[in-house]
């Protein structure tokens, strides 16, 4: 993971250190990551840097990726499951330019997957790292605005408030209507916000063989789930956690039991449901048409 080369950029231009951040900053971020891994689900404060992109575009994830990236890594970046959206394309290009590393859209080929909103449909394997871009790392934030208070609540394991939110959902909608950023409990200890992940992907975090890292740039927090960590979605005994289900398969590849995006096709009410994971969908289509 260490490099002495001042620039690995293929194109001429300003000389950046490998993966943009200087080595001192990367060490600082790695220390936060190691602490996060040692205390799964605990939000470790770190000195988030100004990145050449706006907050909300994944500055936290980019810093984590920059800190763990080595010259031999293969990077995949997805945004809402897609490899070809602006954010994903730009971040891939950013690391190609500043680190000269290989990028891919194939989940199986990637050593590091940086993501916003989704976990790929293809199960992650041991040795892979998934980096989440997190907008609001504090699951208690909307119920308790004081940071001093939420930290105390984490320290003392006072998580009753989290269930107040779920109670409100059931009282209002008859079921737990939270569909994304669904709170989880890590190893029976810390309650964690899994970023804007649809709750469909929550079970994929549970005992995943891959290392999972979460970076929140604006909020200056890093947290982590080491491989094979227990991750349970919060629920009530009489209202257990369930994931979304779709009645129809993907309109393009016919896949079932995957997360689908609704696409409006015309202005007369036409719509179709397609795989949110573009790599998964493309792979299935390639296999179907030899």
């Amino acid at each position: 993971m260490r490099t002495t080369a001042m620039t690995a950029a293929a194109t001429p231009g300003p000389a950046y250190n490998f993966a943009y951040l200087d080595e001192g900053t990367k060490r600082m971020i790695r220390r936060a990551i190691l602490k996060g891994i040692a205390v799964p689900g605990y939000q470790v404060p770190f000195a988030s840097r100004e990145m050449p992109m706006p907050y909300g575009w994944g500055t936290g994830g980019v810093q984590v990726t920059a800190a763990i990236l080595g010259p031999a890594d293969v990077l995949k970046v997805i945004d809402q499951g897609a490899d070809d959206t602006t954010n994903a394309v730009s971040i891939r290009a950013f690391f190609r330019k500043t680190a000269g590393i290989a990028t891919t859209t194939r989940t199986v080929e990637a050593t590091i997957v940086q993501t916003r909103h989704r976990i790929p449909e293809t199960p992650l394997a041991a040795g892979q790292i998934i980096v989440y871009q997190v907008p609001i790392p504090e699951p208690l934030r909307f119920l308790e605005p004081r940071e001093t208070e939420t930290r105390t609540m984490h320290a003392l394991e006072e998580y009753g408030l989290m269930h107040v939110k779920l109670y409100e959902d059931i009282a209002r909608h008859g079921h737990i209507a939270t569909t994304y950023a669904y709170p989880v409990k890590v190893e029976g200890r810390y309650v964690m916000d899994p970023s804007p992940l649809p709750k469909f992907d929550n079970p994929k975090m549970h005992r995943s063989p891959a290392l999972q890292l979460f970076g929140a740039g604006r909020e200056k927090r890093i947290y982590a789930l080491p491989p094979y960590t227990d991750v349970r979605s919060l629920d009530f005994e009489d209202h257990p956690f369930t994931v979304q289900s779709f009645t129809e398969p993907c309109a393009v590849c016919g896949a079932r039991n995957v997360y689908l995006d609704e696409v409006v096709t015309d202005d007369r009410g036409g719509r179709m449901f397609v795989c949110s994971d573009t790599d998964h969908c493309g792979t299935r289509r390639a296999e179907a048409t030899p």
Partner: protein, 271 residues
């Protein structure tokens, strides 16, 4: 948290021992004295009123004895459910917070300070249950509905937010939210302060019934001697941060000894 350890009903091993003991309590704000040299005992099931004019140190005293503020000198000890009397200052933060949301209640003058205004009445009452580990929605809701009925809030308002409630309803909701874990000791800071007279009467009536039914020990701060007369068995009169008179409510109000108490009692318009 084990539910059995939290709700053992009215387990009072020895009613002869005070539940709360205050000794030589002092709170200074720099040079200024909030309250000084306050000592009293509170027994299980007893209602103690702290009366006095604005600025006499009533609320400071209440905050100190309810562990919301650290006293400058003196001790406050509390007899826990297991019968062991402990110095509040020696409790860890975790223990203190558990105590606050299980064994104690705190009713604020302004219900906004004691309620979550953005969640429904049912969730406001259920919050303490969830905080002590209840994870059954049906049971939490049933308990909340039961408590709303006990404080005379209509059952169909269970999913309304307190923002849609009147002042009197909010105060009754705050009371229900505090009592749902069957606390043994409740602190009240001018619980009828912001309410108009007819609503006051209803809240007082309700409080008197609940306190008697549940056998609560209560420390109530009020400047209203009528409230003290109606609810309390004993009165502590404060002036300039010190206790000037203490005694049974009827004795203090009918036969005040200290000139200041005489002034206070004389200031009530004859009915």
């Amino acid at each position: 948290m084990n539910a059995d350890a939290t709700f053992p009903g009215a387990a009072s091993p020895d009613a002869a021992d005070p539940i709360l003991s205050v000794r030589g309590l002092e709170k200074r704000y720099g040079e200024r004295i909030g309250c000084t040299d306050v000592s009293f005992d509170l027994w299980p099931g007893e209602v103690l009123a702290i009366v006095g004019e604005s600025g006499s140190g009533k609320t400071t005293l209440l905050n100190c004895i309810s562990a919301r503020r650290a006293p400058s000198a003196g001790t406050v000890s509390y007899r826990m459910r297991d019968g062991v009397t402990r110095d509040l200052a020696a409790l860890g933060e975790a223990e203190r917070r558990v105590l606050m949301r299980t064994d104690w209640g705190f009713v604020h003058q302004n219900p906004i300070d004691g309620l979550r205004m953005r969640v429904s009445a049912g969730a406001n009452v259920g919050e303490r249950l969830m905080a002590v580990g209840d994870r059954n929605y049906g049971r939490i809701r049933a308990t909340a509905a039961d408590w709303l009925a006990r404080v005379e809030i209509p059952a169909d308002r269970i999913d309304d937010q307190p923002t849609a409630f009147s002042g009197g309803m909010r105060q009754r909701l705050q009371i229900a939210r505090n009592l749902v874990t069957h606390p043994r000791l409740v602190f009240m800071d001018e619980p009828t302060g912001g309410l108009d007279v007819s609503v006051q009467a209803r809240v007082l009536d309700l409080l008197r019934g609940l306190v008697a039914d549940l056998g609560l020990a209560v420390v109530i701060v009020t400047h209203d001697l009528a409230v003290a007369r109606l609810l309390s068995q004993r009165i502590v009169v404060m002036k300039d941060g010190t206790v000037v008179e203490e005694g049974l409510t009827d004795r203090v109000l009918d036969d005040p000894r200290h000139p200041y108490t005489q002034l206070l009692v004389a200031s009530i318009p004859e009915s």
